[in-house]
């Protein structure tokens, strides 16, 4: 496998897990409906989910780090292990890996010890934001200046918010035993839809800015460069997710109180999530592909 493919594959679970932790936790903090003074019902349902995602981060981090070092040194894994301390100490990307590893430990500590604590979502969102920021600071955007780092961060945060809100909805519907559920999902679906709408807008705007920076205004670069082609696939997967989301929002949401409509909605939200996971994979691919220059 090429170093680009290996890096992308190794980073995919991290990109997805940190995004979903950030998105679900931020949704729970800022948007999930709750009765004043009562504990949020969603918190109890999301707690095991966060434990699973923290486990994914812990398992995937050493693999991604080693894959990256092996690509940097152009050496197989076994030789690359010896380079890890030097990379962590002496390179920009390595120092950011130290930040990442600490943030992952913090996420794990919160998730394993007290995921259903009232303040857990805020802490998880903050640590996941650190992970996303570390990614932005070690991306191509870093050489393009801090404005582009901010664009990259916002792009990732918006994608996380979108995925997180949708997954929170699925989770609440599958695992919640609320009475009456129809009322809960009606209220949540509306907030999810609003969050998703804003996220898609932000994704489009920041994505356009980042693309112009990477490819300029030359359409042949979009069609004939490796970066351009990977981007086309990413945009296609994004468009598919938006199309499903649009159908959900404008056709199914108005009838969400009906049982059949509600079930279809939740099922299609899950489909939307699968497309978004695909977008995350292609994003990891792009992050490792040289932009045209």
């Amino acid at each position: 496998m090429t170093p680009i493919g290996a890096n992308a594959l190794a980073q995919w679970p991290i990109v997805a897990a940190q995004a979903i932790i950030f998105g679900t936790a931020a949704f729970e903090v800022a948007l999930a409906p709750r009765d004043p003074g009562a504990r949020s019902p969603l918190l109890r349902e999301l707690a095991p989910f966060w434990i699973g995602l923290a486990a994914v981060l812990i398992a995937a981090a050493p693999v991604a780090l080693l894959t990256q070092v092996s690509a940097m040194a152009a050496a197989p894994w076994r030789t690359a292990i010896a380079f890890v301390p030097e990379v962590l100490r002496e390179t920009h990307g390595g120092r950011l890996w130290i930040v990442r590893l600490i943030a992952i430990a913090a996420v794990a500590a919160v998730a394993f010890r007290c995921a259903d604590h009232d303040r857990a979502p805020a802490a998880l969102a903050a640590f996941a934001a650190v992970l996303i920021l570390a990614g932005a600071l070690s991306s191509h955007a870093y050489d393009w200046g801090l404005f582009m780092v901010a664009m990259n961060f916002l792009h990732q945060a918006a994608a996380s918010m979108w995925a997180g809100a949708l997954l929170a909805l699925c989770y609440g519907e599958y695992f919640g035993d609320r009475d009456p559920a129809a009322h809960w999902i009606h209220e949540v679906a509306q907030r999810v839809s609003t969050a998703a709408g804003w996220s898609v807008g932000a994704l489009f705007a920041t994505g356009a800015i980042l693309t112009v920076r990477a490819l300029g205004f030359d359409s042949s670069r979009l069609l004939y460069s490796a970066y351009g082609r990977a981007l086309i696939f990413k945009i296609a997967a994004f468009a598919a997710a938006v199309a499903v989301g649009g159908y959900n929002r404008y056709r199914l949401m108005p009838n969400v109180r009906e049982r059949a409509s509600r079930r279809t909605l939740v099922r299609l939200v899950a489909v939307e999530c699968v497309f978004i996971l695909g977008v995350f994979g292609l994003a990891a691919m792009l992050a490792n592909t040289p932009p045209v220059h």
Binding site: P3, Q68, A71, M72, A73, A74, E86, V87, E90, T91, H92, G93, S138, S139, H140, A141, Y142, D143, W144, G145, F147, A205, I209, V212, R213, N288, P290, P291, H293
Partner: protein, 125 residues
């Protein structure tokens, strides 16, 4: 009114991106080589210098100058000019073809590599 303001903001943003002074590429590639790729030199160069379009990491920066028998003649390479210049000193080169091979890792941790040739002429007379 608000709509117009938004359009103006977006237009200003686009202009700022287009006019951004340094078109750094991220993923470091050579901007200038000295001696230049394919060059024929009358007098032997005392060093090889490659200027990159993005800062590179000292760790993993490699530069070799191979003679026709594949022996590396360059000294240990040095990174300078805010991380954008890779250079290595050379002994007095005899006339012949030389192959410069480089590999670097830039700050986004991505590795790039390449090679080119130059010739020292000074045919015996």
């Amino acid at each position: 009114m608000l709509y117009r303001k938004n359009i103006l903001t977006i237009a200003a943003l686009c202009a700022a991106i287009m006019l951004a002074p340094r078109m750094a590429s991220a993923h470091a590639f050579p901007k200038r080589e000295n001696p230049a790729a394919g060059a024929t030199l009358n007098s032997p160069p005392s060093q090889v210098t490659i200027d990159f379009d993005a800062p590179i990491e000292k760790l993993f920066a490699k530069l070799t100058v191979l003679d026709s028998s594949g022996r590396n003649l360059a000294s240990e390479p040095v990174v300078g000019d805010a991380g954008k210049r890779l250079s290595a000193a050379l002994p007095l080169l005899k006339p012949g073809d030389y192959k410069v091979a480089w590999s670097v890792v830039c700050r986004d941790s991505h590795r790039t590599e390449g090679s080119y040739q130059f010739t020292v002429s000074g045919s015996p007379h």
